[in-house]
């Protein structure tokens, strides 16, 4: 009887962790977004510590539907990339974690016409971006964008 209980415990643990792993990639967190504080910015990442910013941006890129049409302000490292399909040059704001081994980035589209590289900081330099959050799906890949972005 005791042996059965132990085996059952082991099986329950295995099943729970396995189920959790299976659900992990499709889970949408029940996260409440901080209220607009009157500044016109719904999610202000510039006031948060590095770990907090990384975790918040992780949530935004994994559960983007909650943040759609919210005004987001973030500070990170400026980066560019070229879209392989269209050849278009895209701009991004990248957040690194405390160990600087993992990074999350959000693309932004400037509100006004800007010329690269004259109107942008150098690659890897700090940039502050404020824009309306949106996302597109490319198969299973989520592309997060800040539209109408103002840069500082």
């Amino acid at each position: 009887m005791k042996r059965i209980r132990m085996i059952l415990f082991a099986l329950i643990c295995t099943c729970l962790i396995t189920m959790n792993g299976a659900c992990r990639k499709t889970t949408v967190q029940n996260v409440s977004i901080p209220e607009n504080n009157g500044s016109g910015v719904d999610v202000d990442l510039t006031d948060l510590s590095g770990n907090m910013v990384y975790a918040q941006v992780y949530d935004m890129v994994t559960s983007p539907e909650k943040y759609r049409r919210k005004t987001v302000k973030m500070r990170g490292l400026f980066a560019t990339r070229t879209d392989e399909k269209t050849g278009e040059l895209q701009y991004g704001c990248v957040i690194q974690d405390a160990l600087a081994c993992c990074a999350q980035g959000i693309q932004f589209i400037p509100a006004e016409e800007m010329r690269y590289p004259d109107d942008f900081p150098a690659m890897g330099d700090e940039i502050t971006v404020t824009g309306e959050f949106d996302f597109t799906m490319d198969g299973n890949v989520i592309n997060c964008i800040l539209k109408g972005a103002e840069t500082e």
Partner: protein
């Protein structure tokens, strides 16, 4: 303090604190038994095995890596506790052997069959935990609560048997206790906790959660029950303090928790001389 209360409004911070406390509680309880059974390094060995399991899951392109990681870790835990009694390969040698072999093969496989463009990021994140604890979903939090409750229930239910097996396995067997079964139970619980703890402090620092609270408690108390209770309290307090410190000051979470545990151990060593 105001900053901390602001951060507590974020659900992922609350999730991290809940899961951190639960993992610390379970691992510190189990730590007393493992330290007394001379298996302090088993957490390290098993977490390296789990790292190897993640690499194998990546090579096999298994979307749910837990399908590979958990069974591999549980089997390794059982083997390690069994080979500990083997006269040819002693417990410490068996752990060292499996630990480094799993780590080496894991890294080898990850390099040969990379699953993402950021290999160093993947390795770093798995080894040191990075901010995994701050990116948990509500489902993972519930899983942790259920598992922690199961571990605690098993520990309380079988406290007397675990106590007997911990101190004198041969005597416990002579008294009719099925020591093998309880060793199996300890092995399974250890593996489950290690797999969960990898989220909190990463693979390399897992064993700190197991050994430091137990060793600190042993500086202050000398009975099994008191050491167990003190270990649980010290483990939870250290994990909470480390987590809050990391969130407020931008330190890596795993390293901050272990640093606090080392500090607590140092304080307990000083207190020991004055008690």
């Amino acid at each position: 303090m105001e900053r901390l209360f602001t951060y507590l409004q974020y659900p992922f911070v609350r999730y991290a604190l809940i899961v951190g406390v639960l993992i610390a509680l379970c691992s510190s309880l189990l730590g007393v038994t493992l330290v007394l059974k001379r298996f302090s390094f088993i957490g390290d060995g098993l977490s390296h095995v789990a790292f190897g399991g993640i690499a194998i899951a990546g090579v096999l392109n298994v979307s749910n890596d837990m399908l590979v990681v958990l069974p591999v870790t549980v089997i390794s835990a059982v083997l390690l506790l069994r080979t500990g009694q083997n006269k040819k390969i002693r417990g410490d040698a068996a752990i060292a052997m499996i630990s480094v072999a799993a780590l080496a093969f894991g890294y080898l496989l990850m390099n040969m069959f990379p699953t993402s463009s950021n290999l160093s990021g993947d390795v770093c994140s798995t080894l040191f935990g990075s901010t995994s604890i701050l990116t948990l979903s509500i489902r993972e939090v519930w899983l942790c609560i259920v598992l922690a409750a199961a571990v605690l229930a098993m520990y309380v239910l079988y406290y007397n048997r675990i106590f007997a097996v911990t101190f004198d396995e041969s005597f416990a067997q002579a008294c009719g206790t099925k020591a093998d079964r309880y060793n199996l139970l300890i092995a399974v619980i250890t593996a489950v906790i290690i797999v969960l703890a990898m989220n909190l402090v990463g693979s390399l620092l897992c064993s700190a959660l197991i050994i430091f609270p137990a060793l600190s408690a042993m500086r202050l108390y000398h009975s099994f029950r008191n050491v167990t209770i003190a270990s649980a309290v010290l483990g939870v307090v250290s994990a909470l303090a480390g987590l809050i410190l990391a969130i407020l000051t931008d330190l890596p979470v795993g390293s901050a928790i272990v640093a606090v545990q080392v500090l607590v151990f140092g304080i307990c060593c000083i207190l020991e001389k004055h008690i």
